[in-house]
Symmetry: C2
Subunit: 194 residues, 2 copies
């Protein structure tokens, strides 16, 4: 998606360890207009699928998932990162490794919001090693629901998550795929996409 790539070029900031900071427009401050266009790209790509719910993980996937759900006219569910005293024990649960925060955290979703008949579109802001998305896939499978597709704002193409998900047969749409970053020159190279 050219608009997103241009914005990453313009406002993304590179940090050591191949970190691409996009928190002025994507995951701390949100350019809602840009994000609505991104949601429309997802809705357009997945419009033939019988999606019943959009599923994401707190916190930075929620904006994009909400706007995508609005486009598709279905509810949105977000998995929670910590055990809330309000959610009870009636949950599916899995552990996710975070390379960003260098820890492992438990992710849960209430059993009463994911059902076997659900056709799920998973949405998240970033895909690198795929740990978060694999956690979401596990939760959907635990519910016996079906995954119709995965939509990601930014994929780091030099990390293995995207290739692995495609090899497993998932319909994965990444709106921008970064193939290379050069901290010296601040250059970002995107993969050519249709």
């Amino acid at each position: 998606m050219r608009e997103l790539e241009k914005r990453i070029q313009q406002d993304g900031v590179l940090y050591p360890g191949n970190v691409v900071k996009v928190d002025t427009f994507l995951n701390h401050q949100i350019d809602v207009s840009l994000m609505q266009n991104m949601a429309r790209e997802f809705a357009n790509h997945f419009k033939e699928k019988p999606i019943t719910k959009v599923f994401t993980i707190e916190a930075s996937g929620i904006s994009l998932a909400t706007l995508t759900a609005a486009e598709l006219n279905v509810p949105c569910v977000f998995a929670k990162k910590a055990k809330s005293i309000n959610l009870g024990d009636d949950v599916y649960s899995t552990d996710i490794v975070s390379y960003t925060h260098k820890n492992t955290y438990e992710v849960i979703v209430a059993k009463y919001v994911l059902h076997p008949e659900d056709q799920i579109l998973i949405i998240d802001d970033f895909l690198a090693n795929g740990c978060a998305l694999n956690g979401l896939i596990e939760l959907v499978e635990a519910a016996g629901a079906h995954i119709q597709g995965i939509g990601v704002a930014i994929e780091k193409g030099f990390q293995p998550g995207g290739a692995s998900l495609r090899a497993r047969g998932y319909d994965l749409l990444s709106l921008a795929i970064i193939d290379e970053v050069d901290e010296q020159t601040n250059a970002i190279t995107f993969r050519a996409q249709d």
Copy 2:
């Protein structure tokens, strides 16, 4: 807002300690259509104000804040609950007490997304004691920005947060104000509003 009150009556679940669980439509699974109508109520109420940004806190305020920002055509910023290694030290910070989770957590916002010239609309899903909203107010004030209003989905009118914010002069719109809950009969009494 009658649509929200009816939904709380229909799908809200009462738990001991005056807990009103609304996670099948508001803060775990999200009825995006309902939430768009709520966002329109906020946009309509605050439309004469020169709002430049919608400000909320992760995670459950993000959906409503994003949709409200979309209605007002401004960016959305969400404060983060934990120190991210990506956010750096250039942040405003405050501590918030959580009665729900029975702990205190640090909340931060990057200095480069809140500016003195910003006119802020604060949005959150729940208002009870006002701890989270007071934390957000502190962050806005630390940035030297101005608060134009506060929009909340559900206020617990039998707890002091709402009355305190109104006494301090804030333009606070709560879409549903619960004045009384009765766990025995599962009855919820709403405050009459215009």
